[in-house]
């Protein structure tokens, strides 16, 4: 069903008049926060850019840090590699204050980093970037056969999975036995 509602004016509207320019609002200085990943390299990011991350936005919204306090207390993200955090920060800066288009060409190009990026973005709750990354991963196997999907995503077969599980159990059993023996030796 198509909407066909369209307007046609009966009388020509008068010539447009120049709208009075609104008085320039006093500029509020932008606040900055600091984040670091596994490599401890600190990145300075504006609050505007960090709004993309629901996790960080939630953390900072009630803090009211001064510049010094923010600098002294960088947010530690020990589970995120430094280069991945750098990618995320760059993306947030590029998209500061604007909605992301459905096809984002500013996404980091390194495909080998995509796995870590997806995990980081999911952890930091950056919805738009997560959507874009996941779309990229999904596109890799769209229309492929199960064999091709297995190869592209390196999916182990159930038999391989079971063998790996058995191997892991065996290893864990051996390690546990070793630890018990060591403990017994210590006790003697």
């Amino acid at each position: 069903m198509s909407s066909t509602e369209q307007g046609t004016s009966s009388a020509a509207p008068a010539e447009p008049t120049t709208a009075p320019e609104s008085a320039a609002a006093p500029e509020v200085p932008e606040s900055f926060y600091y984040v670091h990943g596994k490599d401890k390299v600190v990145h300075k990011v504006s609050a505007g850019a960090l709004q993309h991350s629901a996790l960080i936005h939630g953390m900072i919204s009630n803090l009211g840090y001064t510049e010094e306090q923010a600098k002294a207390n960088p947010f530690p993200f020990e589970n995120i590699d430094g280069d991945i955090l750098q990618m995320v920060v760059d993306w947030c800066n590029q998209h500061k204050g604007k909605p992301t288009p459905p096809e984002d060409t500013n996404l980091p190009k390194q495909k080998e980093k995509l796995f870590d990026l997806v995990l980081a973005v999911n952890y930091l709750e950056i919805k738009e970037l997560l959507t874009y990354c996941c779309k990229q991963v999904a596109m890799m196997v769209k229309g492929k056969s199960p064999e091709e999907i297995r190869e592209i995503w390196m999916i182990p077969t159930d038999a391989e999975d079971e063998a790996a599980e058995k191997e892991a159990k065996k290893r864990a059993g051996k390690e546990a036995a070793g630890e018990t023996a060591a403990a017994a030796g210590d006790a003697k």
Binding site: S10, P13, A19, L119, M139, E151, I152
Partner: protein, 403 residues
């Protein structure tokens, strides 16, 4: 020869060379280009589900058989189902049977922008049932009939199970539903509330079934169309004033009834449906006159269009008594020429009048008494007040949406 030509030529040669490769080698090249995603199995379930939701249904089915873990992920993934039609009324299914046969046809669409509809036809086959569908065969340049035998004599039940299972896969977020079933198995149904449903088309005369379907829908802002299974007027669908009081109808945004609406006068004068259409209404000409006058005096509700069925036995003069009309004469056609021609294109012709609002003089209705088939009284809110940049008001005419 320019540089770009050289590049294009070499690209052409590369493509030709790739095309000559065996499929395995070609796939290896593609994989190298994609570079793979070797840690898919290690990704947490949250992210895996997020990825899978961007796959089309076919790809999901293929992923499902890759491993137990993937089977679990796909099982929990949300499948977009945009539209579902369940119908046992179509006796001839083109391409499958040339003669009439009893069947239940399930039609669904994954996305609003996808032009492809999936059509599955369930019918009896010996002691069991079968499911059939058509698939284009590029070699034959025609359709192939695919058949799946089902080990159950109850094809009706199997069809419903299939449809409900697809709706379940879509996490009951179906936006459009169409049902044309004589006996929907309400007792064995596994239907659940459809909170995202916006559009419902129901063909049926069984009030209990109509009420049952309404229970699953959101209470407000629905687009409802109701049809009778019978075309003749003796058996037309009639909704009593009590049934017209059902909240889903009362609070609908659009409601079209291919039947008779037995409104009480009070009910009709208190209508709040923005777009309403009825084959006939039980109210008298005087009540329609009051309805129009209420709008003129600013006490009526803000509707887009109200289409009131046959005026065969109606007295148009009575309906228009005491109402100031502006005929669509040459002056009006000159003033709003584009609107008039567009209106004719979408709404047809007939006797046309403009009725202004006394409180908001820039607002007006278009009253149309059609001159084709059965005469019909259509009321559209077409003239709307707009403000020019210099602050002056003017009327802008809007062509009604198709309804």
């Amino acid at each position: 020869m320019s540089n770009s030509e050289i590049e294009l030529n070499s690209l052409n040669e590369v493509i030709k060379a790739i095309e000559k490769l065996p499929p395995k080698e070609r796939f290896r090249l593609l994989k190298n280009f994609i570079r793979g995603f070797e840690k898919w199995s290690q990704l947490n379930e949250d992210c895996r589900l997020h990825v899978v939701q961007f796959l089309d249904y076919k790809s999901m089915c293929k992923l499902e058989i890759c491993s137990k873990q993937d089977q679990g992920t796909v099982k929990d993934a949300h499948v977009n189902i945009y539209q579902m039609t369940i119908c046992d009324e179509r006796k001839i299914i083109e391409g499958i049977e040339t003669e009439e046969f009893d069947n239940v046809a399930i039609n669904f669409q994954f996305d609003s922008y996808m032009t492809r509809n999936y059509n599955l036809v369930f019918s009896a086959e010996g002691d069991g049932s079968k499911m059939q569908w058509l698939k284009f065969n590029p070699r034959k340049r025609g359709m192939d009939i695919h058949t799946l035998l089902i080990d159950s004599p109850n094809y009706h039940q199997k069809a419903i199970e299939f449809a409900e299972n697809m709706i379940k896969k879509g996490k009951y977020e179906l936006p459009q539903l169409m049902v044309d079933m004589k006996d929907y198995p309400m007792e064995t149904s596994k239907m659940k509330p459809l909170p995202r449903c916006k559009t419902i088309r129901i063909c049926g005369d069984d009030k209990e079934q109509l009420r049952w379907w309404f229970e699953w829908l959101p209470e407000k802002n629905l687009d409802i169309r109701m049809f009778s299974r019978f075309e003749n007027t003796e058996n037309q669908l009639v909704l009593s004033s009590e049934e017209l009081n059902w909240p889903r109808i009362q609070q609908a945004q659009k409601f079209k009834l291919r039947g008779r609406a037995d409104f009480t006068d009070e009910q009709f004068l208190n209508l709040e449906i923005r777009m309403a259409g009825f084959v006939s209404v039980s109210v008298s000409d005087d009540v329609i006159n009051r309805f129009l006058k209420n709008w003129i005096n600013g006490t009526g509700y803000q509707f887009h269009q109200v289409l009131l069925g046959s005026t065969k036995n109606r007295d148009v003069e009575k309906i228009l008594r005491g109402i100031e009309l502006r005929e669509w004469d040459e002056d009006f056609r000159e003033e709003a020429g584009f609107f008039c021609s567009e209106f004719h294109r979408f709404c047809g012709r007939g006797q046309l009048y403009q009725i202004s609002n006394r409180i908001q003089p820039y607002e007006s209705l278009t009253l149309q008494i059609t001159d084709f088939e059965e005469a019909q009284l259509n009321i559209y809110h077409t003239g709307k007040r707009q403000t020019a940049r210099n602050g002056e008001y003017y009327t802008e005419y809007y062509v009604p949406s198709y309804f």
